[in-house]
Symmetry: C2
């Protein structure tokens, strides 16, 4: 197989999201058992006879199972996530959120690998979450849904793979919250993961990131339409607060530099300011409003709350190392690839550096690459061309 640059890359084509009902309850970190649990997933490529070519791809806060190809039921796309949609106008056309990374000849090469992508536990795109029916009441859980962790998401993914008859992963990969899941996999199931690809991620979000997430959740919960989390069926939803939450998130996914390049201080009306408080006057203000309006149409506010909470709770050192990251990673056997982006201030390269240091302290195989790019956290969705050769070379080292 030649290098990526000399091969044509392609699409996985039309895909359809599938659903699996897990046979057993999921035992959650909080102590509760969750049942029933349905998982939405997609697969791309062909499972090898030895079932040894599986890559699990994990999504970020606002993603879903539709990671690659064209959806048979196109609608609002999770590719809207992180502002990536503007780049090539694919929003709403049903293209998977990581289509540039998954497919024939791509970073996660479906000519070689069988790629599985799921909607995470707590999601609103097919997997059981707060908008699912609570068997105890027959109504949507709302805020009665148990508080979940990244480890709970991983246990759910483990259970889905059991249903699919898959024991081992050649790799588990993801960006941001997806990278947290990948790292958690390597810790929880060290004997079942050959390689980890954690992109624009961290072992524990820094306090400023914790704050942004807290503010986003406050914006949702302070919206009277949230109704204590039981808004389903009331004809009202906390769209106003969700919009604010999304705007906060969106700015943290970009960089000051890229916002400067993209919007500057350009006004809506080129002539002059319009002396308006209630209406957007700068183009960037209008853009943020648009992002908010689009997002609330496709995403459930409670899923946002639960997922945001899970990613702030994620802390490998606290969970697994008694405060020590090195101890937490002591049992990892997977080879690890860490990729970070120079302009990502939400998941800065320093966090990946700490992971590398902790793995190296145990002599674990790890590769860390910082890509110099201006688009902030969004880079993990935008800088596909520069991640691809790194990931292909890294995965080439696995037996597959």
């Amino acid at each position: 197989m030649g290098p990526a640059s000399t091969r044509a890359t392609g699409s996985v084509g039309l895909v359809e999201t599938q659903y699996a009902d897990l046979p057993e309850p999921i035992r959650l970190d909080c102590g509760r058992d969750l049942h029933p649990v349905r998982v939405a997933y997609e697969t791309y490529g062909t499972l090898s006879p030895d079932r040894d070519n599986v890559i699990l791809v994990c999504h970020a806060l606002s993603g879903d199972a539709h990671a690659a190809g064209l959806s048979k039921t196109p609608g609002e796309s999770a590719r809207d996530g992180f502002g990536a949609e503007d780049r090539d106008g694919v929003a709403g056309k049903g293209l998977g959120w990581w289509d540039g990374m998954i497919g024939p000849g791509k970073a996660f090469d479906t000519d070689r690998y069988f790629v599985v992508s799921t909607n995470l536990l707590g999601g609103c795109r097919g997997t059981t979450g707060p908008s699912s029916t609570d068997p105890a009441t027959g109504r949507p859980y709302g805020s009665d849904f148990p508080v979940i962790t990244v480890a709970d998401m991983v246990r759910t993914e483990r259970a889905l793979l059991d249903v699919l008859g898959i024991e081992r992963l050649a790799a588990v990969a993801g960006g941001s919250l997806g990278g947290m899941q990948a790292l958690e996999w390597a810790v929880l199931f060290p004997d079942q993961v050959d390689a980890v690809v954690a992109i624009a991620s961290t072992h524990a979000l820094h306090p400023q990131g914790v704050s942004w997430n807290a503010i986003a959740r406050e914006a949702i919960m302070r919206d009277p339409a949230w109704q204590g989390g039981h808004y389903h069926g009331t004809g009202r939803a906390p769209d106003a607060g969700m919009g604010v939450a999304r705007m906060v998130g969106h700015v943290t996914y970009l960089s000051a530099t890229s916002m400067g390049d993209k919007f500057g201080r350009r006004l809506q009306d080129a002539d002059d300011i319009r002396y308006t408080i209630a209406e957007p006057d700068f183009q960037v203000e209008s853009y943020l409003r648009h992002q908010a309006a689009t997002f609330v149409k496709r995403f459930d506010a409670n899923t946002y709350l639960y997922t945001s909470r899970a990613l702030t709770y994620f802390d490998l050192a606290r969970q697994h190392g008694g405060g020590s990251l090195a101890r937490a990673l002591d049992g990892v056997t997977a080879r690890t690839l860490l990729i970070a982006f120079s302009s990502d201030w939400l998941y800065p390269p320093s966090a990946s550096q700490e992971i590398e240091d902790a793995l190296l302290a145990h002599g674990k195989p790890v590769e860390f690459q910082v890509i110099d790019a201006p688009y902030g956290h969004d880079c993990f969705l935008l800088e596909e061309a520069r991640q691809t050769p790194i990931i292909r070379r890294f995965l080439g080292g696995t037996a597959a």
Copy 2:
């Protein structure tokens, strides 16, 4: 007079806010005339017989006229602004928001200067603003208050000084939005300003800063209790949205580093996470909630909207230079001191650098100092000891 380090510094003592009713309407940038206008102000030190020792101090978004000394009517202090209150426990004790900078032997030395501090136009602490009575209706203006600009604030300050019989300023000084006012003074009234001290400020907020302000305003306006801006007298106020706005602002005033140093990822309950969505679990989350709760008690939401809008509109190049900052500053005659802080990502040193470059292009006297300090934008309130010798030396060059 010896250097600051060898002199004891003191307090201006007990002070009382005064009020002046302007005799003429203020002609606003938006084309409307505003009348009546009352201005809240305080003075510290003694006006010289020649009235040539006046320093005007301008406050930032959440400040007020009480800049120094102890208020005779203590209440919630504007020193709460920007998180400075935690440092020495002075919150609510009536200490002025820049007390460390104004007083005998301090940066703005009241042994030498007569310092005037006003609450800005549109304010909610004594100067006419959206919560003032609209003479046309007999009710509070609310969102019928005209959209104001930084230049309108400066014209109001000019009018107050006329009432006080003060023609010239030995200096005009401020941080953040206060620095914008200082720069605007030098452009609007070049013959009446000897020196400008603009700290942690800019000639035009960058698009990320515009975004944070837009999000804060959205949070307020999307609160149903805002009621289109006419919440006064209804028994409801957009406290929920204001709280979110304040949290957004607060995080932008700090730095990721200082948040890490101050809070880390410490939990409220040292033992473990409590698996809660609705309640704060990290100490930084509790801190932000406290900041929000404190702020909404002392500040009017509409004033926040109007002031935030004014500071995003501020753009010296657009207003005065046809897009060119150098042209906008062409008429400045004041000596200018610019101070910025290395960790301030909201008003980064690069913005002050652009001002220095534009002034130097015309051969204008300008001094630019970057102070290496970790506290973000808050530094202008916190790093008093390091600003003091710079400011004293700079002001020492003026005839006074």
